[in-house]
């Protein structure tokens, strides 16, 4: 299956370029579409093999069946509820975990004393596999929203915290010195030098925090929930509906990707000043596209 797909995309590529006439102009469009090529091919292959009965429908239902099952849920409005509650949990956990991480990461990055006091503790807490918290959170906070959101916030916390702390510590000492030359106060230094200089790593931290948030919402909802995409996953398993399982996985993927894209887009707006390989790369190809 995997061996087949690339050879087919190879066969496709020259045809597309030729179809576009005099090269150049079509290439960026193809570049953007390239990522979709393989998934679409696999879907088509999967659908075909399912129809020919190669895959047992009770193990791997056809994409059309998955889509149908999801559409059924959507029609009753049930799907929207599941998506909404999951998004709500991720968002709340992300906000709480992200805010706590921002405060503590800024403190430990900026102040040596704070780092020496807090960092060892936080680092050792980080080594606890986060799923291991679940029984404790349930014991303390009950089985409803609080324990779920706390678990998600725990997952979000560490990447944000670590990235922000090391980001601040790694700010170019020479730029900090320019701040000293102009007699910036501690707070001014944070706002005018440290924060903007740290933004790139901070955004990386937020993005991986969000990724972990999505991982942990599955765990939280898997442990016991009456709503949410994670619940849908369990429900599909309990009621023997693989199309629901696959459908929820796909939905997780889609919403995880969308929220990450949102964060990345917002981040990029703040980082247009960056002089990195990838930004030059896109600039160069954008130039090429204009020509």
């Amino acid at each position: 299956m995997t061996a087949l797909a690339p050879s087919q995309s190879d066969a496709n590529a020259p045809r597309l370029v030729r179809g576009g006439g005099r090269g150049g102009r079509n290439r960026p469009a193809l570049g953007r579409g390239k990522g979709l090529l393989l998934p679409v091919l696999l879907l088509v292959l999967w659908e075909a093999l399912s129809r020919f009965g190669v895959f047992a429908p009770n193990l791997l239902p056809a994409p059309s069946k998955v889509l149908g099952a999801i559409a059924d849920l959507a029609v009753t409005g049930e799907l929207l509820e599941h998506i909404a509650i999951t998004l709500y949990r991720v968002a709340l956990g992300f906000l709480i975990g992200g805010a706590a991480a921002t405060l503590l990461g800024a403190a430990t990055g900026y102040s040596r004393t704070a780092r020496e006091l807090l960092d060892p503790l936080l680092q050792s807490l980080r080594n606890i596999p986060s799923i291991a918290w679940v029984p404790l959170f349930i014991l303390w906070l009950g089985i409803y929203e609080a324990s779920k959101v706390t678990l998600i916030a725990t997952g979000v916390f560490f990447p944000v915290y670590l990235n922000l702390m090391s980001g601040i510590q790694n700010v170019d000492r020479k730029l900090v010195e320019v701040g000293r030359v102009y007699r910036l106060s501690g707070l001014q230094l944070v706002r005018r030098v440290l924060l903007p200089a740290t933004l790139p790593t901070y955004i990386v931290g937020l993005r991986s925090g969000l990724g972990l948030g999505w991982m942990f919402v599955v765990a939280a909802e898997y442990m016991g929930a009456s709503k949410g995409l994670g619940f849908l996953l369990v429900d599909g398993q309990m009621t023997g509906r693989p199309q629901i399982i696959i459908g929820s996985i796909a939905l997780f993927a889609i919403f995880g990707k969308l929220t990450d894209l949102l964060l990345a887009t917002v981040g990029e707006r703040f980082l247009t000043w960056q002089d990195s390989f990838s930004s030059n790369h896109t600039r160069a190809s954008a130039d090429a596209a204009d020509r």
Binding site: K174, L175, E177, V181, Y182, V193, W273, D275
Partner: protein, 244 residues
């Protein structure tokens, strides 16, 4: 007036960088510091700028000791040290943030014009060449109208052509406010074109080894015979002192 009095510096690591350096720089005087690598020129400049502390001795500006960076001192480092997230204009305004907006804009525009960068106000540092970036750094230092300007090998990373141009730029801008300048360089030509006095430092820890008052008339031309004579004299002295 800037007075460096019996200044010594020993770092926590135990390295002695400076020993009993005494130097007085008059109002609007341009003084160059030359000397072998590692003899403490940057350290001296950092202490004068209030970025580091002497182990003993003192730096006085108009009879007041320097303990921290002061508003009347401008510093240009060896690297431009621009904030990469700020536009050229905002980098120039970095030190005058507390002024009203129209004042800031006007000052920045004037400072950029002085260094020949009108039209690049909205550019980002990554879009500048090394020479342009260093000129922005000079504009940033000049915009506060410092009465003392410290420059630590500001042109050493630049090609010879750009360097000549920036030396002339610097002299032109000096004409406006006539700041006192302390200028570290490795380049004898540069020292001769710019300075009223040249201080030669040597050794570990660094001491003042020799001092020249450059009496060449301004504007100085690098091709003049008198200029060449001075250059030969300095080079000979420096070579002799290497052997000594």
């Amino acid at each position: 007036m800037l007075r460096i009095d019996d200044l010594s510096k020993r770092f926590d690591s135990g390295v002695k960088a400076l020993e009993t350096v005494t130097l007085t720089v008059g109002q609007s005087e341009i003084v160059s510091l030359v000397g072998t690598s590692g003899c403490g020129k940057s350290t001296l400049l950092r202490i004068v700028g209030g970025l580091d502390f002497p182990t003993s001795g003192s730096v006085l500006i108009d009879d007041e000791p320097v303990a921290a960076p002061r508003p009347e001192i401008g510093i240009v480092f060896q690297e431009p040290r621009l904030m990469p997230w700020l536009s050229v204009a905002d980098n120039v305004k970095f030190g005058i943030e507390d002024q009203p907006r129209p004042v800031k804009d006007e000052l920045a525009t004037a400072a950029l014009a002085k260094v020949g960068l009108t039209g690049f106000a909205e550019a980002l540092p990554r879009q500048l060449s090394g020479g342009m970036a260093q000129r922005v750094a000079i504009a940033r230092a000049l915009v506060t109208r410092p009465s003392i300007l410290l420059l630590d090998e500001p042109f050493s990373a630049l090609d010879a052509f750009t360097r000549l141009k920036l030396q002339d730029h610097l002299l032109q801008t000096w004409e406006f406010d006539r700041p006192t300048m302390l200028f570290v360089t490795h380049d004898i030509d540069e020292a001769l074109v710019l300075s009223d006095r040249i201080i030669v430092m040597r050794g570990h820890p660094g001491r003042i080894h020799q001092e020249y008052t450059v009496d060449l008339p301004r504007p100085r031309r690098r091709t003049d015979a008198a200029f060449q004579l001075w250059k030969e004299r300095l080079l000979t002295d420096l070579d002799l002192s290497v052997e000594a």
